[in-house]
C-alpha cells in the first residue's frame, strides 16, 4: 500500500489541523462572549489541545500507520467541543478535564505501542477480562469506597478521586465477549436450548447490575452490546428477540418493584402536571415539573431556547441573573442540553452527524477486519459507543427514560474520557491490522 499508507497519516494530520483551527475558533468565541469572566488564557487551551493531538498523531504514525485516518480527528473534534463547552460552563472543570485528556492520550499511546504487533493476544485473557468486568461493576456496591450520586450507585471514591468503573467494565465486557463468542459462535448458532445458558447468565448479570446500581441505562447498555455482538457472531435474530423480550420483562419487574426506576419512567411519560402531585423530594405536594422532573424539564427548556441557530457559544442561559445554576449536572448528563442551546439545531445536528460518521467508520473497520475476534471487537466497541450516545442524548431529549450516563468524548468526567480513548485505541489497532500490507 506504500504511498497509500503515508497518505492515510497525512490525511489524519490534515484533518487534525482543521480540528485545531476549529478549537481555536471555539475558544475565541467563548472568550469574546465572556470577556468579563474569561481571560486570554483560554486560547492557550486550543494550542495545548492541538499539541496533544499532534503527539497522539505521531504515535499513530509509528504504531498504527495503516489505521483509519478519520477516527482520531473525529475523536479530537468531539473532545474539543466537550472541553470548549465545559470551559464555558466552568473554567476550573475544564482544567481538570484537560488533565484527564492528557491521561487518556497517554493510555491511548501506551495501548497502541504495547499492542501494535498483535492486539489479538488479548483473546487469551478473555476470562480475566470477563471477571474483571464483573469486579469493576460491583465495586460501587462495596462499603467504604462506593458512592451514590443522583440516586444511582455508580461511583468509586478513593480520597479526592472519584471514578466510574462502569465505563471501563464496558470495554472489558466487550473484549471478553469478542473472545468468548469467537470461540463459541458455531455451537451457539445451532440454537439448542442448552446453549442458551450463557445468554441467560449474562441477562441475569445485567439485571443484577441494574438492581444493584439502581441504573436502567447501564443495564440497557451492557445488554444491548451483548445482544448486538451475539447477533453478529451467530446470525440468529431469534436470540435478539428473546433477549429483548427478557430485558423488557426484567425492566417491567424493575419498574414495578424499584421505586427509583418507577420514578424515572413516570417522569418520562408525564414530566408536566397541571395539578400538584405528591413530591417524594419534599414529601409535600408540587407540580411534577417543579419536583421530580425538574432536571428533564429544565434540560428541554435549554434545548428549546437554542432554536434553529442557537444562542451562540458563550451566550446561552445556564444561570439565573443572580448566578444560581438553572440546569443541574450541566457538564455531565446534560451537556447535550447546553450544547443544543448554544449551537442550536444546526450545531447539535452537526455534532450528531460527527457521532454518526464515527460509528460508520468504526463499523467499516469491523467489516474490513479479517478474523472473528477483530470483527467482534470492533463491532462491540463501535456499537457500545453508538448505544451509549443514544441512551444519554435520547434520555435528555425525552425519547427514552432519562438515565445518567456520559456522552462519549464530550461529558465532563475522567473515567469516561479514559475509557473512550481506549475505545479509539482498539478501533485503530483493528483497522491497522486490517489494512496492513501482507
Amino acid at each position: 500500500m506504500g504511498a497509500g499508507t503515508l497518505s492515510y497519516r497525512n490525511r489524519e494530520l490534515f484533518y487534525l489541523s482543521v480540528v485545531g483551527v476549529l478549537t481555536g475558533l471555539g475558544f475565541a468565541s467563548v472568550y469574546i462572549a465572556r470577556q468579563a469572566v474569561v481571560s486570554w488564557d483560554s486560547l492557550t487551551y486550543a494550542l495545548f489541545f492541538f499539541g496533544l493531538y499532534l503527539a497522539a498523531h505521531l504515535v499513530t504514525r509509528y504504531a498504527t500507520p495503516n489505521a483509519d485516518p478519520y477516527l482520531l480527528p473525529m475523536a479530537a473534534l468531539l473532545t474539543a467541543v466537550g472541553v470548549t463547552e465545559i470551559y464555558r460552563l466552568g473554567p476550573s472543570d475544564a482544567f481538570k478535564q484537560g488533565l484527564w485528556i492528557v491521561i487518556g492520550v497517554a493510555l491511548f499511546a501506551f495501548a497502541l505501542l504495547r499492542l501494535r504487533r498483535d492486539y489479538r493476544v488479548l483473546e487469551q485473557y478473555k476470562y480475566l477480562f470477563g471477571i474483571g468486568a464483573i469486579v469493576l461493576l460491583y465495586l460501587p456496591r462495596l462499603p467504604g469506597i462506593g458512592a451514590s450520586v443522583n440516586g444511582a450507585r455508580l461511583w468509586v471514591e478513593a480520597g479526592p478521586f472519584r471514578f466510574q468503573p462502569g465505563e471501563l467494565a464496558k470495554i472489558f465486557l466487550i473484549v471478553f465477549l469478542a473472545g468468548y463468542l469467537r470461540e463459541k459462535r458455531e455451537v451457539l448458532a445451532q440454537g439448542r436450548p442448552k446453549d442458551l445458558g450463557p445468554l441467560l447468565v449474562i441477562w441475569g448479570g445485567c439485571m443484577l447490575v441494574l438492581v444493584a446500581t439502581n441504573d436502567l441505562g447501564s443495564g440497557l447498555l451492557y445488554f444491548g452490546i451483548f445482544l448486538a455482538m451475539l447477533y453478529v457472531a451467530t446470525n440468529r435474530l431469534s436470540f435478539v428477540l428473546v433477549g429483548i423480550g427478557l430485558f423488557a420483562a426484567g425492566g417491567f419487574v424493575a419498574y414495578e418493584k424499584i421505586p427509583h426506576v418507577h420514578e424515572r419512567v413516570t417522569i418520562w411519560l408525564q414530566p408536566w402536571t397541571t395539578n400538584k402531585v405528591y413530591c417524594p423530594v419534599t414529601g409535600g405536594l408540587a407540580l411534577r415539573q417543579d419536583c421530580e422532573s425538574y432536571q428533564l424539564v429544565k434540560s428541554l427548556y435549554s434545548i428549546g431556547n437554542g432554536g434553529f441557530g442557537g444562542a451562540g457559544l458563550g451566550k446561552g442561559v445556564f444561570t439565573s441573573a443572580d448566578g444560581h445554576a438553572l440546569i443541574p449536572y450541566i457538564n455531565t448528563d446534560f451537556i447535550y442540553s447546553a450544547l443544543a442551546q448554544e449551537l442550536g439545531l444546526i450545531g447539535a445536528a452537526a455534532l450528531l452527524l460527527v457521532f454518526m460518521l464515527f460509528v460508520a467508520r468504526g463499523m467499516r473497520v469491523a467489516l474490513q477486519a479479517e478474523d472473528g475476534f477483530s470483527k467482534l471487537l470492533a463491532t462491540g466497541l463501535t456499537f457500545g459507543f453508538a448505544l451509549q450516545t443514544f441512551i444519554i442524548v435520547g434520555g435528555v431529549l425525552r425519547l427514552i427514560p432519562l438515565t445518567g450516563i456520559t456522552l462519549p468524548f464530550i461529558s465532563y468526567g475522567g473515567s469516561s474520557v479514559v475509557a473512550n480513548f481506549l475505545v479509539l485505541a482498539g478501533l485503530l489497532l483493528v483497522s491497522n491490522r486490517a489494512n496492513a500490507p501482507t
Partner: protein, 501 residues
C-alpha cells in the same frame, strides 16, 4: 459476519438519526410551547438579556415602563423600572424574575422582546444577533391618557373600585383605573411583594391591589342594568319611550310585593303613579322595570345582554385570565348560568338576580348607546414602534358587537340625558355639555352599604367619551352621590371643550 455487521450499522445509525429528529422537534415545533411555559426560567432569564421595549402613555412621552441596565458576572441584564411608580399599574402590569409577568407586560411580551412575527422585527433581531449587539424590543404606546388616568386614580384613592373611560367611536381606552393600585417596582422583592399583598384597604374580602377591578372585578350592576332591559324592551318593539305605566310603589313577584322603597338608587317619592318609560328610567323605578321584565321575559333580556358582549370575555390587550365575562353567575361554582328558566325576570330587569358585571362591560354598554348601537372592540395599544421609530403595527378600530337598532340607541340616549338633567344623576352635569348617564346602587347584604355605579357618555350629540365608575362598600353612598361626581371629573379631563370648575 459482514452481513450482520452491515445490518447492525444501519440500526446504530438509525438510533443516532432518531436523536437528530428529536432535537429538531424540540428546537422547532415544540420550541414556542416550551418558551410559553410559566416555569421556564431559562426563557425568562434569556429575555432579561433583551433590552425590553418601553411602554408609553398616549401622549408619547410619559414613560410607564423603562429599563435598568445591570451587569452581573459579565452578563448584561435589563430589569424593569416603572418611573411613575404605578400609574395604571394593573394595566401595564409587571415583568420580574421571580414573579413572572402580568398585564400588558405579559400579553404583549412578544413585541416587547422583539419575538413577534413581523418581518422588520425579525430582520432587526437577526442583525442584532449577528453584530453581537443587544436585541432591543419594540416600543409600545398605549391609549391611556396620563392626566385623566392620574385623576381617576386619585379620585378612587381611599376606596376600592374602578373607573373606565373610552372613546365610544373607536374603542380606545383612555382611562382604566383600579383601586387600590400598587407600585410595580416593589413586586420583585419579598418584602415589597408582601407589603402589596397585605396592605390595608377600604374593602373587606377581595382587597388585592394586583386585581384589575376594571376587567376582573365582578359586581352587581344595580340599576345600571336597566339600560340593557330598556334596550331589550325597545328593540323588541314591545315598548316605546312613551309607553305608559302605573307605578303603585311595588311590584308583585311570585305573589309577594317587592317595594320600591327597597331601592336605594331611586330618589323622589316611593310611588310615582302614572309615568312613561323615560321617566321610569330617569328616576330608576324598580316596579316599572320589574313589570317590563315579567312581560318581555328573561330570555330576551339575557339575549340583549349578549348583544352587548355579556357572556363572552371582552377583547383587550390583557391576558385572558385577567379579563372576566359578565353575566349571571352561579356563586358556588363561579360559573356562568345561561338558562332563562332558572331566572326571575322581574329582578333581573332591574339588575338583581345573580347578575355580575365588570366595569369594562358596563362602560361598553354606555359606549354602545353612544355609538348608535355599535359596541367597538376596546383596545389599549395605540401603536407599536421599532427601536428605530418606524411603525410596526397600529391598532385599527373594529366593531365588536351590534348591540341594538340605531333608533333604540337614540331613544336610550334621550333617556340617559334625562337621568342627568333631572333624574338620579344630576351630579354629573357639566355646563355647556350634554351628558348622558345612568346611576346604579346595588345592595351588598350589609345594611346601608352599597356598590355605587355611574355609567356615562358625553357630549350626547357627538359622543367622544363613554365609561363606567364603580365604588365598593360605600356607606350610604349612592351611584348618584359618589360615583357620578367622579364620572363628571373624568369627562371634564378628557373632553377638550369642558371648562374645569
Amino acid at each position: 459476519m459482514n452481513k450482520q455487521i452491515s445490518r447492525l450499522s444501519i440500526v446504530a445509525l438509525l438510533l443516532l438519526a432518531a436523536l437528530i429528529v428529536a432535537t429538531t422537534y424540540w428546537q422547532s415545533w415544540a420550541s414556542a410551547g416550551l418558551a410559553a411555559r410559566q416555569d421556564n426560567a431559562i426563557q425568562r432569564v434569556a429575555e432579561f438579556q433583551i433590552k425590553r421595549g418601553l411602554i408609553y402613555a398616549s401622549d408619547g412621552h410619559t414613560v410607564l415602563a423603562a429599563n435598568k441596565k445591570v451587569t452581573r458576572a459579565g452578563q448584561t441584564y435589563y430589569f424593569r423600572r416603572y418611573p411613575t411608580n404605578g400609574l395604571a399599574s394593573q394595566v401595564v402590569g409587571y415583568s420580574t424574575q421571580g414573579r413572572s409577568r402580568s398585564g400588558i407586560e405579559r400579553q404583549l411580551n412578544g413585541y416587547l422582546t422583539a419575538s413577534n412575527a413581523n418581518l422588520g422585527t425579525i430582520i432587526d433581531k437577526i442583525t442584532d444577533k449577528l453584530r453581537g449587539t443587544t436585541v432591543t424590543g419594540n416600543n409600545l404606546t398605549l391609549t391611556i391618557r396620563p392626566n385623566a388616568q392620574k385623576l381617576a386614580e386619585s379620585a378612587l384613592a381611599g376606596s376600592c373600585g374602578a373607573a373606565v373611560a373610552l372613546n365610544p367611536k373607536t374603542g380606545a381606552v383612555y382611562v382604566m383605573a383600579s383601586s387600590p393600585g400598587f407600585n410595580p417596582n416593589k413586586i420583585e422583592s419579598a418584602s415589597g411583594y408582601a407589603s402589596i399583598l397585605h396592605s390595608p384597604s377600604a374593602c373587606p374580602g377581595s382587597s388585592s391591589a394586583l386585581l384589575n377591578r376594571a376587567t376582573q372585578g365582578l359586581y352587581a350592576p344595580g340599576s345600571t342594568f336597566k339600560t340593557v332591559t330598556a334596550a331589550a324592551a325597545l328593540d323588541a318593539g314591545i315598548y316605546t319611550p312613551e309607553s305608559r305605566f302605573y307605578d303603585p310603589g311595588y311590584c308583585t313577584e311570585y305573589g309577594q310585593k317587592v317595594y320600591n322603597s327597597g331601592n336605594p338608587d331611586q330618589n323622589g317619592p316611593e310611588m310615582y303613579g302614572n309615568v312613561n318609560l323615560i321617566e321610569a328610567y330617569q328616576h330608576s323605578i324598580n316596579a316599572v322595570f320589574c313589570n317590563i321584565g315579567q312581560k318581555i321575559g328573561a330570555r330576551r333580556i339575557l339575549d340583549k345582554a349578549k348583544d352587548f358582549g355579556f357572556y363572552s370575555t371582552p377583547p383587550l390587550e390583557l391576558p385572558a385570565d385577567e379579563r372576566a365575562p359578565s353575566g349571571l353567575y352561579d356563586f358556588k361554582k363561579h360559573t356562568l348560568i345561561d338558562d332563562a328558566s332558572q331566572v326571575d325576570p322581574g329582578r333581573l330587569a332591574f339588575g338583581q338576580e345573580r347578575m355580575l358585571v365588570t366595569p369594562l362591560q358596563m362602560a361598553l354598554v354606555a359606549a354602545g348607546v353612544a355609538n348608535n348601537g355599535k359596541v367597538m372592540a376596546p383596545y389599549l395599544l395605540k401603536v407599536v414602534r421599532s427601536p428605530g421609530g418606524s411603525i410596526v403595527t397600529r391598532t385599527k378600530p373594529t366593531v365588536w358587537r351590534k348591540a341594538m337598532k340605531p333608533s333604540t340607541a337614540a331613544a336610550l340616549s334621550q333617556m340617559m340625558q334625562a337621568v342627568v338633567t333631572g333624574g338620579t344623576g344630576t351630579a354629573a352635569q357639566i355646563p355647556g355639555i350634554k351628558v348622558a348617564g345612568k346611576t346604579g346602587t346595588a345592595e351588598t347584604g350589609i345594611p346601608h352599604v352599597y356598590t355605587a355605579w355611574f355609567i356615562f357618555f358625553a357630549p350626547a350629540d357627538n359622543p367622544q367619551v363613554a365609561g363606567a365608575v364603580v365604588l365598593e362598600h360605600q356607606l350610604n353612598g349612592f351611584g348618584g352621590s359618589v360615583a357620578a361626581p367622579i364620572a363628571r371629573e373624568l369627562m371634564q379631563a378628557i373632553l377638550p371643550q369642558a371648562s374645569k370648575q
